[in-house]
Symmetry: C2
Subunit: 135 residues, 2 copies
Amino acid sequence: MNDKGKLEIFINPSSGVPIYIQIADAIKYAIATGILRDGEQLPAVRDMAYQITTNPNTVAKAYQKLIKDGLAEVRRGIGTFVLKRKESPQNVEKLKHIVCTLVKEAKKLGVSEDDIVKMIKEEMNGGVRNRSKKA
Amino acid sequence: MNDKGKLEIFINPSSGVPIYIQIADAIKYAIATGILRDGEQLPAVRDMAYQITTNPNTVAKAYQKLIKDGLAEVRRGIGTFVLKRKESPQNVEKLKHIVCTLVKEAKKLGVSEDDIVKMIKEEMNGGVRNRSKKA
DNA sequence: AACAGTGTATTAAGAGTATAATACACTAAT
DNA sequence: ATTAGTGTATTATACTCTTAATACACTGTT
C-alpha cells in the first residue's frame, strides 16, 4: 500500500447528513488540501467501510458521487482513483467570490435560498424545468 | 370574491416535483407577472385544494413555503395574503446575471451542481457546516 | 351563542432514500 | 483454473418526506 500520509475520515452518523455524502466531502477536502493527489488510489471500499464502520456499498456510493462530480474515476477490478482536477485554489476563490456576491444580492432582495438554488439548477441544466427523477 | 383576472394553477402529479412546491412556484410566478398583486388575498386552502384536486393541507404547505420565502403572510381566521415584495424585474435580472456568471465559471472548473449548491447554502447560513435537520 | 369563513394540528398511508447483507463480476498474478 | 484483490448488482429494512383524512382553533358576522 502507498503511504499517503493520512486520510482521516470522521463520520457523524447522527448529523442528519447521509454517510456517503460525509465520505465524499471528506475525500473532496483531502483532495483540495493535497492529502490525496492526482492519480492516487482511494482506499478499497471494504477497507474504508471497515475503518468507519459502515457498509462497503455506502462507500461505493460515495465514490460514485465523486465520479459524478468529476473528481475520481474507477478502473473495474483495480480500484478508484483521484482524477486530475481543473480547480486551482485561485479559481476556487474566484468562485467563492461570485457566490458571496450572489448571496448578498439575494438577501438584499429577500430572495430565498430555495429560489437561488432553483435558479442555479435551471441554469446548469440549460434552462430546463422538467427533471424526470435525476437525468 | 375579488376578480383578480385569472390565477391558473396546473399541477403535474407525475413530474416528481412535490405538489406543494408546484403550487408555491405557480403562485410565485403569478406574483412575478402581476396576476397577483401586493396585499391581494390568496384563494382559501380548501378552494384551491378543490380546484386542483388535492388536499387542503397540501395547499397550506405551499402557503407556508411562500411565507417562509417572504412572499406572503397569514392572518389567522382571515386568509393568506401576498406581501409587498422587494424584488423588481430589474433586480431579478441582476440576480440572473450573477447566477449565469457563477454557473459558467463552475462548469469551466468542473465543479458540480451539488458543490455549488453547498457553497450557496453555507454562505447563506453564515458559513455554518452543521444543520441539525432543518433549523 | 351560533355560524360560516379562514388556517392549523394530528395522525396515517404511500413513495422515495439511505444503509446494510449478500452474492456477483471484473482484473492481475499465480 | 485458482486466488486475492477490486468495484457492482440485488434485495431488504429503517427512515424520511409527501399527501391525505379528520378534527381542531381563530375571526368576523349574525
